[in-house]
């Protein structure tokens, strides 16, 4: 074990952890904004109750996304300083823009929304949640543009004197075809999580809390969430399909590794199950669907899809001796888990809608159980998606330009990285338990009773009035 290994584990753990909260922030901010808009348009209190209810769950989650996000920005400099030196000219810009354009918007307006119920006119208060939601979704674009540069570097040149990457075309970086498709794919994956949480909580109350005066609100929420899941699942599939074709072009090794395709095939078949040798150089057993991989990868059922061994040979002659093959079992299984868990979520959502058709109330205990695990499925799908996309790029940190092992900080010792990895893992684990318990507590508590809210005013006449919301 050396500092490089620990730094890689730390990046993996902190990033996957961060992305447990981000999808919910991305998706739920918009869903809460939609609920509040419904209230604003219809005046129906049901939507106000749901806005406040899901708003609370949203905020419990939001805090975790914010604080774990700071680690992400600092980590590049702390553990990956040689990577930062190499790509800073390109990679730093989207990060800085993300903070200036998106994070300020998100954090400022979320504060206005949380504390502004009685201070802002209704319209402005509604605009605040939209501004925060737009900021959140915008931030995803910039960070994905930065990540896409690592997958498919564009708009740059290598300065022969310094050996560093230098920006030549910023528009090319922002319109990287990998970024353009990864953005909607990530958003769809995020809405899959948010919709699932809305379903789970609503369904639990519909089934467990039948005599509640708010059953109507929960029924609405359950259906609303289920539709969000289904539409997101459709979008995540369509965007994923396009992404696969782009990946076959720009990172053929990643596609081959996703499939455990060892030798170049035309037409190539899609692997349902492949078991490879331990060193990952050949397959032992496989069940396959003919033509499907060619179609998924190239859009043509007879298209050529390059295999791992051929690509390895090609890269070795191009970049010098060494292994350019990712860890095949990791890429192969994470790719399948991503798809499988995502589809399972969609199936449960469909079931939820079916059991509630025409005003029916579902009673199956199995459905309740399936409903309770529902939000975990897209979270796993998202995590495996990221594990796949990052592990599938290995051994590169910037594809074709810099190896991961060359990006690590030279001045940071094993002890330091171990300290940091241990500290983050411990505090993250503790916070995960606390966060989960709070979410369950507030989800069970149900929608709030609405006490009459006073109209906002600017006078000090009522200086003794309690705040509508206080920490």
């Amino acid at each position: 074990m050396d500092a490089l290994d620990v730094a890689r584990w730390q990046f993996g753990v902190t990033t996957v952890y961060h992305f447990l909260f981000v999808p919910l922030t991305i998706g739920l901010s918009i869903l809460v904004a939609i609920l509040q808009t419904l209230w604003h348009r219809t005046g129906n209190e049901r939507y106000l109750k749901l806005t406040k209810f899901y708003g609370k769950l949203f905020l419990i989650n939001f805090a975790m996304g914010v604080v774990t996000g700071i680690v992400q920005e600092f980590q590049f400099g702390m553990n990956w300083s040689d990577y930062s030196r190499f790509v800073g000219d390109i990679f730093g810009a989207p990060l800085a823009i993300e903070a200036l354009v998106a994070f300020f918007l998100e954090s400022t307006f979320i504060g206005l929304w949380i504390f502004g119920w009685d201070r802002l006119p209704k319209r402005l208060h509604l605009a605040s949640i939209w501004a925060a939601a737009i900021g959140t979704n915008l931030s995803a674009y910039f960070i994905l543009a930065a990540n896409s540069f690592m997958q498919n570097p564009v708009g740059y040149t290598i300065n022969p004197e310094t050996g560093r990457a230098e920006l030549t075309d910023f528009v090319a970086v922002l319109t990287n075809k990998v970024a353009l498709i990864t953005f909607p794919h990530t958003l769809a994956g995020s809405f899959l999580v948010a919709g699932s949480l809305v379903v789970t909580v609503g369904l639990w109350h519909v089934m467990r809390n039948r005599d509640s005066a708010d059953t109507g609100a929960y029924r609405f929420a359950t259906k609303f969430g289920a539709w969000v899941v289904l539409v997101s699942a459709a979008l995540v599939t369509i965007t994923g399909d396009i992404q696969g074709k782009i990946m076959t072009q720009v990172q053929p090794m990643k596609m081959a590794a996703a499939e455990g395709l060892y030798t170049t095939e035309s037409p190539a078949s899609f692997s349902v199950l492949t078991i490879g040798s331990l060193d990952g150089s050949r397959e032992i057993f496989a069940i396959k669907i003919p033509y499907l991989l060619s179609y998924l990868g190239t859009g043509d059922p007879d298209g050529t899809v390059q295999g791992i061994n051929d690509l390895q040979a090609q890269y070795a002659s191009q970049y010098g001796a060494g292994s350019y093959t990712p860890i095949i079992p990791v890429t192969y299984w994470s790719f399948r888990f991503m798809i499988g868990f995502g589809m399972a979520a969609a199936a449960i959502a469909l079931l939820v809608l079916w059991t509630q058709r025409k005003g029916r109330t579902p009673t199956s205990r199995w459905l309740l159980r399936a409903g309770l695990i529902l939000p975990v499925l897209p979270l796993l799908a998202n995590s495996f998606g990221w594990i796949f996309t990052e592990m599938g790029r290995q051994p590169w940190i910037v594809f074709g330009e810099m190896l991961t092992r060359d990006g690590v900080s030279r001045s940071v010792s094993l002890t330091e990285v171990l300290t940091s990895f241990t500290a983050f893992t411990l505090i993250y684990a503790a916070l995960a338990v606390i966060e989960f318990k709070l979410l369950v507590r507030y989800a069970k508590a149900g929608v709030p009773d609405l006490t009459p809210t006073a109209e906002p005013d600017d006078t000090d006449d009522d200086a003794e009035r309690p705040l509508a919301f206080a920490y």
């Binding site: 905020l59 805090a63 914010v66 604080v67 996000g69 700071i70 920005e73 600092f74 590049f76 400099g77 702390m78 300083s81 040689d82 930062s84 030196r85 800073g88 000219d89 390109i90 730093g92 810009a93 990060l95 800085a96 903070a99 200036l100 354009v101 994070f103 300020f104 918007l105 954090s107 400022t108 504060g111 206005l112 949380i114 502004g116 201070r119 230098e166 920006l167 030549t168 910023f170 030279r410 001045s411 940071v412 330091e416 300290t419 940091s420 500290a423 983050f424 505090i427 916070l431 606390i434 709070l438 000090d460 200086a463 003794e464 309690p466 705040l467 509508a468 919301f469 206080a470 920490y471």
Partner: protein
Amino acid sequence: MELTTIWFLLVAVLFTGYFILEGFDFGVGMLLPVLGRDDRERRVLINTIGPVWDGNEVWLITAGGAMFAAFPEWYATLFSGFYLPLLLILLALIARGVAFEYRHKRPEASWKRRWDAAIFWGSLLPAILWGVAFANILRGVPLDADHEYVGGLLDLLHPYALLGGVTTAALFLTHGAVFIALKTTGEVRDRAGALAVKLGLGAAVAAVAFLTWTLSIRSSAAAVVLAVGAALALLGGLAAARARREGWAFTGTAVAIALAVATLFAALFPNVLPSTLDPAGTLTATNAASTPYTLKIMTWVAVVFTPIVLAYQGWTYWVFRKRIGVVNIPQH
């Protein structure tokens, strides 16, 4: 003006904004156990910064992003070199940020006590460590010819750096007390006002000592003028605090922090991280910078978006301008 100089100024502005804004919310956090004698009073204190602390912290994220984009070598060397202090700052900011949101989520006293501790330590540690970090930037650190940090943790802890830490903590405490006096009513306000003056005198002594020491290490005419300005602003702020002119007192401490940070950057320029070993290892605004193309794009982005951000963030402070007191804290 050179693009690299513009970006040196912009990074300075971002850190100045960060220390003015998060400075008072660090102060509020550190004063939580001192000025908040019961749960309701502590809630008053937390709610003075509730709507704004997150936006304040984004100044740091933006400063970090700007360093990365404009001076990647500076960002890389500094963040990998100051590894353990930054780790502590991150852990503190995590605990503190979550604490604001979670503290009121359960009624148990033990629950609240734990989050109060997180807010206190989560504010105190960064308030000290930022001073330690900036003192080290000013004094210089051991860098080899490749700009890699070759020192250890102990190279960052020396009397000058510790004085830097004491100074930032004392300034933020004063700034926080003045802010509380400005934003609250009743007893909390009275206590905060009285404490601000005492804390401020300590902060003034520390700041004068620290800035004098700094100017003896590296200096420029501008830095001297700014340092004198910082001292005068702080004393003016304290006089206003004594006279219970809270708005002016807050202006005074805010200007004092701004000028103190400006002093540091003015003394540092054109270096960004001097080397105490090989002079070739010294990072400057020129050799640490990105290409002119990147800097030009980032300049346009900054020119367009900074005024917008300032406008809506300023508006937030206007929306939440009312003082609050224990009577305004709801029961649940």
